[in-house]
């Protein structure tokens, strides 16, 4: 497949492009040029024309872009960026759209503080946290465009905390920090980078005919014993199985 990755220069992008590059023709995009062996195009996802230009002729779009803190840019990237992606999917009849975001764009504080066994198909309650609500607005745009365009299949994969093999928590704010101490527990929505990338690959490669509906959400995290959330749907529908359980952190 010819696959467009938006926001490829984030923390997850390199892991994903590494496992896709042998089987797919990928176009990586981001605001700044990155070192890559694949095609790279400089694209600002909040620029409608740039997104439309780069999306022509692709079979699938994967959106990894995210902006968490600046109020204006968070709207530009998380909301308008999604609108631009869906305009491209509509214009060029792109069937497969894979969106990503944090789990709390669906399961905000009104769920997380109260409930357990939370599934990805609950009505979204992001609350007003800037990151959560702008991603939820972007997701609503994706939903409306998918419902109004019968050719589009939207899969949304939701993540939160990422760990590497030395149990250092991911994200730019953690670069250079020491690994997390074992036996100190972790947020019940954590995963290794490799497993996260593998879940996206599964979503990319599943036959669209095997999706129950054209709008599917998945919670993507390791097999953790907390019981707070459920990753069962991703495992059953996508055939995805996390390889790492991060046991060193949640057991003594």
């Amino acid at each position: 497949m010819k696959v467009l990755i938006l926001g490829s220069n984030g923390m997850l992008g390199p892991w994903l492009s590494e496992i896709l590059k042998d089987d797919h023709e990928i176009i990586e995009t981001d605001l700044e040029q990155i070192d890559t062996n694949t095609n790279f195009v400089k694209v600002d996802i909040s620029n409608t024309n740039q997104v439309l230009e780069v999306a022509e002729g692709v079979d699938a779009i994967i959106n990894l872009s995210v902006l968490r803190t600046d109020r204006k840019i968070a709207f530009d990237v998380n909301m308008k960026g999604n609108l631009n992606m869906m305009l491209a999917a509509e214009k060029f009849k792109i069937s497969r759209v894979i969106n990503t975001g944090p789990h709390f764009q669906v399961a905000g504080p009104t769920y997380e503080n109260y409930d357990s066994e939370i599934t990805p198909d609950i009505p979204p309650q992001p609350g007003v946290n800037l990151y959560a609500i702008t991603k939820a607005l972007g997701q609503e745009i994706c939903r409306v465009y998918t419902e109004n365009n019968p050719h589009i299949y939207l899969q949304t994969l939701l993540f939160y905390n990422f760990y590497n093999d030395s149990l250092t928590l991911g994200g730019e704010r953690n670069v250079g920090k020491p690994p997390q101490e074992v036996g100190t527990d972790l947020t019940p929505f954590s995963i290794r980078w490799e497993d996260a990338a593998e879940a996206i690959k599964k979503a990319l490669e599943i036959s669209l005919d095997n999706l129950p509906t054209r709008l599917e959400n998945y919670f993507i995290f390791a097999d953790l014993p907390h019981g707070k959330f459920s990753n069962k749907k991703a495992k059953e529908q996508l055939g995805w199985q996390p390889k790492y359980n991060l046991k060193d952190l949640w057991s003594r």
Partner: protein, 215 residues
């Protein structure tokens, strides 16, 4: 009452300007200064028109910023005037406040839907009175005579509805009301708003309580 109206629709501004006996201020931009001493903020979910992604983006940012300021300044009541156009159902359906919104994908309709979403999340999170008033457009005293609209609102009906909403203490609840004027081809039901005529000033008197006890 001190009413602050966020501008965006000239026709509505014209109607609200002559909204006696209230003190109405209409402004392009809500600031810490002009929101002081406001009893109720009235804001619009939609623009007059919305033709490109950036207009939509700025509109929703503005809704978020305005509501953030309301919370910071402890405004007690906010009315979002929205549109019944956010329901893309068959015209024969008995759409009420309990129905799920079904927006179209044009930018204007999408902006209404996203504005409501932001309002709902602020409503879910913070304790203030939040009233979502979905109105049938156009708001026009002559619309009925033109005989081409199944959904329109007369100016008096709009003003009367706002008056009623202002009088009632909604106890920090999130309430949705649908408004359109009566006509032979009336599309939307407005039972809930009509019932407000008979309410006292405390809406909690009108909720069901098990064994008659208030929760």
């Amino acid at each position: 009452m001190n009413l602050l109206v966020k501008s965006g629709n000239q026709q509505l501004e014209k109607i609200l300007k002559k909204f006696n006996p209230h003190n109405v201020v209409i402004t392009d931009e809500i600031t810490e200064k002009n929101i002081l001493n406001t009893d109720c903020l009235i804001m619009l979910s939609s623009l007059n028109h919305c033709s490109d992604p950036e207009e939509l983006n700025l509109k929703i940012q503005d809704i978020y910023n305005t509501l953030s300021l309301c919370v910071e300044q402890d405004i007690k009541k906010v009315i979002m005037v929205s549109s019944l156009e956010v329901f893309d159902y068959d015209a024969n359906y008995t759409v009420t406040e309990r129905w799920k919104v079904k927006p179209k994908k044009d930018f204007l309709n999408l902006s209404i839907n996203l504005s409501e979403l932001v309002f709902k999340e602020f409503g879910r999170t913070f304790p203030f009175q939040k009233i979502l008033l979905r109105v049938g457009f156009p708001i026009d005293n002559m619309a009925e005579n033109k005989n081409k609209f199944s959904c329109f609102t007369k100016e008096d009906d709009f003003i009367n509805s706002i008056s009623r909403i202002l009088k009632i203490n909604f106890k920090n609840q999130f309430e949705i009301f649908h408004l359109q004027s009566e006509s032979d081809s009336q599309r939307y039901l407005t039972n809930k708003l009509n019932e407000l005529e008979n309410l006292s000033s405390n809406i909690s008197d009108h909720f069901y309580h098990p064994r008659g006890k208030k929760l």
